[in-house]
Symmetry: D2
Subunit: 101 residues, 4 copies
């Protein structure tokens, strides 16, 4: 995929209405996921890692036990792009797929 361009704030806000749990702040998308335990959290991270490699676009993320705090932005574009939405949507799907969340 060609590196996409930065989305305008209004476009980000509009798309977030279809992306439960995520917020737009400081030029990044933010969400914190909670799971039943570390095992479920790390399985989620593994799926997200595979998707990130597919997209060649990687998260900033922090994990402690059952929590995974994620920040997404596209450094080259200086803000949020289509790539961030693709990764965020995948993460929501993976988290929804976990009965342990």
């Amino acid at each position: 995929m060609n590196r996409p361009h930065k989305l305008a704030d209004e476009a980000v806000t509009s798309r977030l209405t279809a992306l439960p749990g995520w917020a737009h702040q400081d030029g990044k998308l933010h969400r914190e996921f909670r799971f039943a335990d570390f095992s479920a959290a790390f399985a989620f991270m593994t799926r997200a890692a595979m998707r990130a490699e597919q997209l060649d676009h990687h998260p900033d993320w922090f994990n402690v036990y059952n929590r995974v705090k994620v920040q997404l932005s596209t450094h080259d574009a200086g803000g949020v792009t289509e790539l961030d939405f693709l990764l965020a949507e995948a993460m929501n799907g993976f988290a929804a797929g976990s009965a342990n969340q």
Copy 2:
């Protein structure tokens, strides 16, 4: 955990009634899991890998795309032991936790 001893065939058969999907054949427990796709299958394997390391007891397993075929036995004991049931139970839990199965 001390290395457990081989369970008698009757004990294995009895315990399998509480372990959906598994069969006892050739001195091993067998099950094939199916998931929505490779991503869900490998997330399952990652959770099972963590549990295997916890138990210091590892599966024989084969994966192709969304399928994971597992064989469990305890080599030192020459058959099926408590350790195999612990790993099989964990695997069933992880698979049940995947909405993608």
Copy 3:
């Protein structure tokens, strides 16, 4: 990537000279990897899984403890294709990167 076509046996044989450890048999590429322990083997599998998702091309593989036995072929093409070489080359790189092999 467009699904590539099946490579002629001579082309496979020729390319295998640059791919240590792999053999061509029954229309598939075969290699068995050995690592220091399960942890190193599963870390290798995790890297290979990410690469497989990138390529949208997945291995047939079998793991028991520190061994990972891999078969690669492209079902749609009825044999070995460029995709199999891409995955095999990545696997060799990941295995070489493991000091535990």
Copy 4:
């Protein structure tokens, strides 16, 4: 393992001499690891995750691309314990095993 007790600052400082790369600050052990790329970083995290589950003791960690920033402490004990050293030592071993670091 019984939950271990908090180590005195002098004991932590002394043990750190045998643990390259780690620092003791604010009641925690800290280290930042760098790898060749995301794939190598996440393989390291996978091995550390398996070890964490074995120890039933988990890191606070942050990853972005090829970097993994780790903080270890034992919440129940209010500081650094033997468990933190066991996990830190394992992480150093896994990182050393990666030719991509």
